[in-house]
Amino acid sequence: MARLSMIEAINAALHERMAADERVVVLGEDVGVDGGVFRATVGLFDKFGEMRVIDTPLAESGIVGTAIGMAIYGMRPVAEIQFEGFMFKAFDQVYSHASRIRHRSQGYFGVPLVIRAPYGAGVRALEHHSDAPEALFAHLPGMKVVIPATPADAKGLLTSAIEDPDTVIFLEPKRLYRLFKEEVPEGEYRVPLGKARLAREGTDVTLVTYGGMVPVCEKAAQHVASEGVDAEVVDLRTVWPFDVDAIEQSVNKTGRLVIVHEAPRSLGVGAEIAATVGERCLLSLLAPIKRVTGYDVIPPLAKLEDHNYPSSDRVVRAIHETMEF
């Protein structure tokens, strides 16, 4: 075991998978010689060479469309889109092809592709560098969306994503890349897709969240604990298809639910969680479900960034409102 940051854990997973499976190739802008603008792919080019670690021209549709072809051929491509805000030049390739070729070929071809992208706000970046677009991918039939919240999960989930026979959108919270280190198992390490993590056990209220909001919710949970409110924090890890059993169990236990994500509220993942819980747990709900999210706005630049990025204060306020209902 070594203490790694999330970005180091991602890099470790890529090294481990590329060494273990020669079908795995990495492609994207600046992933090779440079090692990636966030250093996620550092060392891969020297170790595995330009045929498996590919600096592409500046064309996202080209990257994803080509990766789809590689996957059809039998490779296990890991495509990096440099920032989440640039994934949309490739959106047609995801919407029309990555998510459909298995169906279109009636099971004959699959698209075992991972599309990695740095995700979310919190690093004082330029426009398009602070978006949270997970809902746009989660709504696509045939898609899987994963967002890790810890270094160990990042390694284990990325490993599972690379081995998954279908396309996985793997979004990496920039804010967590270097926020903290933790023990990360060395060598092969898997965390199953579709299974949530109980980040904190509690009995009074459930916080369902993922990615960069997990530490925010943990902080809020600690705060309300000092007031005698015992909050449970469920880290989804796989945003879609999410772990409905874990959510249901927790809400049936606590009777109260606060959903927290940084993405815009309307039609976000939180809406589906709220709708699903409403359908399944209506009778165990003691208060209306609350959503603490980014607002329905363009993620602001540095000066206002923190006012859109949900704070533990906003989560605490929501917990109070839920408890006092």
Partner: protein, 353 residues
């Protein structure tokens, strides 16, 4: 030679440059002709089934049989083929069962499943996108060290799509074993080629990306076959990507949902009737290879019988089960689909499967 020059070895009267075709055996020529004849008969039948409501909206390949078949036979068995939606003949040449093509265009996904071992992608409806898939397959082959070539085929309209250019650029930068064929049939539904691009030819678009370019008479099956074969060989052996324009003409409406009389006149189409790819090949075979009317009549009735047989098999296929629409979404079905499948089965009173 320049990208703009038109490569032709057989003129509309069926006069052939014998030196150029020396490499093609008579058997191969017969195969080309037979496939063109079969494709036209299948196509005619499919259109009439559509009029009778026994078939869905379908894109006719009439007039493009030479381009279709020339490409199909130029491909090696291990090569990959990435079609758009107007390559019916190419797919027949690649071994796709005619009843499967009927099933697919008849609105049944199961018709699109490739046969075991097939290296044909399913029909791609979104214009231009699959040029990138072809580039990726070529990249995969190159990385794996397998010496095969990939052929992408799309229409003149696809040259306006960003994906077409991104694909050619990737092919050029990474020296991929990729040949991008454009069936220039002069129309993108109602948009004529002169409104699609300001360039004189489509082949010259190769210049923007530093790939080889060639322009071929797409109604000359021998020229299409020879040129595409050469380009595929260069792609396979020298990692030399290419763009090839097959100059042909869409003789029918865009699809059975279209009415071309709204945007083009008979005067525009007429000159192309004289360039028919099948008449041309028949004239040549008659002059040089002892073909005659009796043989032709026999071939036609033979192919017609095969088409009728395909129609019977197509119409004998048991319809899909409602719950089949949940199949093939993922390798492993997640909870949401499992529950929705059960919901459907309940609502059908436990029927379906």
């Amino acid at each position: 030679m320049s990208n703009k020059e038109l490569i032709q070895v057989m003129d509309p009267e069926g006069r052939v440059d014998e030196a150029a075709v020396r490499g093609i055996s008579e058997a191969e020529m017969m195969k080309m002709y037979r496939l063109m004849v079969f494709t036209r008969l299948w196509n005619t039948k499919a259109l009439s089934l559509q009029r009778q409501g026994r078939m869905g909206t379908i894109a006719s390949v009439r007039g493009q049989e030479a381009a279709n078949i020339g490409m199909g036979l130029a491909l090696g068995a291990n090569d990959w083929f990435c079609p758009s939606f107007r390559e019916t003949g190419t797919l027949f040449a690649r071994g796709v069962p005619p009843e499967n093509m009927l099933l697919y265009w008849g609105g049944d996904e199961r018709g699109a499943r490739p046969l075991e071992g097939s290296r044909n992608l399913p029909v791609c409806i979104t214009v231009g996108s699959h040029v990138l898939h072809a580039a990726g397959i070529a990249f995969g082959a190159k990385i794996s060290g397998e010496r095969v070539a990939v052929l992408s085929s799309s229409g003149d309209g696809s040259t306006s799509q960003g994906d077409f250019h991104e694909g050619l650029n990737f092919a050029a930068v990474f020296k991929l074993p990729l040949v991008v064929a454009i069936q220039n049939n002069h129309w993108a539904i109602s948009v004529p080629i002169w409104k699609q691009t300001a360039t004189e030819t489509l082949a010259e678009k190769a210049l923007a990306h530093g790939v080889a370019g060639a322009r071929v008479d797409g109604n000359d099956v021998l020229a299409v076959y020879l040129t595409v074969k050469r380009l595929l060989e260069e792609a396979r052996s020298d990692y030399k990507p290419a763009l090839v324009e097959l100059v042909t003409y869409r003789m029918d409406d865009h699809t059975t949902a279209d009415d071309a009389s709204r945007y083009r006149t008979e005067e525009m189409v007429a000159p192309w009737r004289a360039k028919d790819p099948i008449d041309r090949m028949r004239a040549y075979l008659t002059k040089e290879h002892g073909w005659d009317e009796q043989k032709d009549a026999d071939l036609v009735s033979e192919c017609t019988a095969e088409v009728e047989q395909a129609v019977r098999s197509y119409e004998a296929v048991t319809p899909p089960e409602p719950a089949d629409l949940f199949d093939h979404m993922y390798a492993e079905e997640p909870w949401n689909l499992r529950e929705q499948r059960e919901e459907m089965l309940r609502s059908l009173g436990g029927s379906g499967r």
